[in-house]
C-alpha cells in the first residue's frame, strides 16, 4: 500500500524561512510542494521521509531567493493490483460504489465488479442513492455504512489533466482506483465473520 520513492527536485527556498536550519527550511518547502499531492504514475504523496542530499544554493540574477537541488525520499500511497484494502463506504448509487480511506476518496467499484448477483434498491432517504444488496442463494446481504469494506485493487489509473472541464462533470481526480468485490472474503467484514459461525 505504501512505498518509498526517491525524487530529485530543484526548488526555490524563499529567504523568510532561511532563519531555520537549511535542512528544515527545505523540508518545509518540500512539504508545501508535495504533501497530499498526486505524482503521476507514482501515487499520492503522504510524507517526506528523509532528505538525502542538498546541493546548490545559487541565487539567480534578479531573484531574491536561493535555489537548491535536493534528493529526498517520500512515502507514497500506491496500492498494487491485487492488494486487499479495507475502506469505508462513501457513496452508493446506480453506477456502483465509491469507497474512501479517509485520506483518499477516489476508489470506485463499478456494477460489474460487485458480488454477483447484486441488485440495487433505492434509498428512501436520499434521492439518487441506492443500496446494493448481494443475493446469495436467496439470502440478502446489504452493503451499508456500518462496516469496513474489503476490496481488491483491480487497477490504478492516472487520468491526464483535462484541458477543458464541463460544468456538470465531477471534480477531476488525478488518481483513480478501481476496486472489485466479486470474490469470497470481500465486502463488509461482518459478512464473513457470520459465515464462519454458520460453518
Amino acid at each position: 500500500m505504501f512505498y518509498l520513492s526517491r525524487i530529485e527536485h530543484t526548488l526555490r527556498v524563499p529567504p523568510d524561512i532561511l532563519r531555520l536550519p537549511l535542512a528544515e527550511a527545505i523540508k518545509v518547502e518540500l512539504e508545501k510542494l508535495f504533501l497530499d499531492k498526486v505524482v503521476s504514475n507514482l501515487g499520492l504523496c503522504i510524507s517526506v521521509y528523509d532528505i538525502r542530499s542538498i546541493e546548490g544554493g545559487f541565487i539567480f540574477p534578479s531573484e531574491g531567493a536561493a535555489t537548491y537541488t535536493v534528493v529526498f525520499t517520500v512515502i507514497m500511497f500506491r496500492p498494487f493490483v491485487g492488494e486487499i484494502i479495507g475502506a469505508k463506504l462513501k457513496e452508493s448509487d446506480a453506477n456502483g460504489l465509491r469507497l474512501s480511506l479517509g485520506f483518499f476518496d477516489d476508489i470506485y467499484v463499478p456494477v460489474n465488479l460487485l458480488p454477483q448477483p447484486s441488485r440495487p434498491e433505492p434509498d428512501p432517504r436520499k434521492r439518487g442513492r441506492v443500496t446494493w444488496i448481494w443475493d446469495y442463494n436467496g439470502e440478502d446481504f446489504i452493503i451499508d455504512w456500518q462496516d469496513e469494506i474489503r476490496f481488491q485493487v483491480r487497477s490504478v489509473n492516472y487520468p491526464p489533466v483535462p484541458i477543458e472541464q464541463l460544468n456538470e462533470s465531477k471534480p477531476f481526480a488525478p488518481m483513480v482506483i478501481t476496486g472489485s468485490l466479486d470474490f469470497d472474503g470481500s465486502g463488509p467484514i461482518s459478512w464473513w465473520t457470520d459465515a464462519e459461525q454458520v460453518e
Partner: protein, 157 residues
C-alpha cells in the same frame, strides 16, 4: 522534478504509523501542537483503525520467520501483515492460487497469523451496537482483546 527511484522499498502499514508517531502524531488533543500536517493526520487516523495500530517490530519479524516455510511472495506477506486475516476465507483472496500452493496448510497459516500478530481492538467502541450480528460473534478471543484494551487505557492514564 526527476524520479530517481520509483520504488525504493515497500512499507507496511505498521512502518508508516510508526513513522507518523515518531513525528508526534497521536489521538489526544495535543496533536494540534505536533509537527504533523492535516493530510498526514488523515493517514494516521485511517491507520489507527487498522490492524497496524498495535503491531510491533518483533511481532512482524516473528511472523516473517514463521511464514517462511509457506513460500509466500513479498506482496502477499505485506498484505497479510496489513490486513491480519483471522479466517481462511479472508486469506484465500490474498494469496494467488491458494488451493494449489497451500492446500490444507491454509488453516495452519491463519493460526500463525492469529497467534503472532496482535489483534486490533474489536471494531472499536464507536461501532458498538451498530450490528447485532457483530455482537453475537464475540468470542473468547474478543474478550481477551477487550481486556488488553482496558489495560492499555489504564496505562495511558
Amino acid at each position: 522534478m526527476k524520479i530517481l527511484e520509483a520504488n525504493a522499498g515497500p512499507l507496511t502499514n505498521f512502518e508508516v504509523i510508526k513513522f507518523l508517531k515518531s513525528r508526534g502524531a497521536s489521538k489526544d488533543p495535543s496533536r494540534v501542537l505536533a509537527d504533523v500536517s492535516p493530510s498526514e493526520y488523515k493517514v494516521y487516523d485511517y491507520l489507527v483503525e487498522t490492524a497496524a495500530c498495535n503491531q510491533s517490530q518483533e511481532n512482524i519479524n516473528e511472523f516473517l520467520e514463521k511464514s517462511k516455510k509457506y513460500d509466500l511472495a513479498k506482496a502477499e506477506l505485506l498484505n497479510i501483515i496489513n490486513i491480519r486475516p483471522s479466517t481462511p476465507v479472508e486469506l484465500y483472496s490474498m494469496i494467488e492460487q491458494c488451493d494449489d500452493r497451500l492446500g490444507d496448510t491454509v488453516e495452519e497459516l491463519v493460526e500463525v497469523v492469529v497467534e503472532v500478530l496482535p489483534s486490533p481492538p474489536t471494531e472499536t467502541a464507536n461501532e458498538e451496537g451498530t450490528s447485532e450480528a457483530n455482537q453475537e460473534t464475540v468470542t473468547k478471543e474478543n474478550i481477551e482483546e477487550q481486556k488488553i484494551d482496558e489495560g492499555d487505557e489504564k496505562m495511558a492514564k
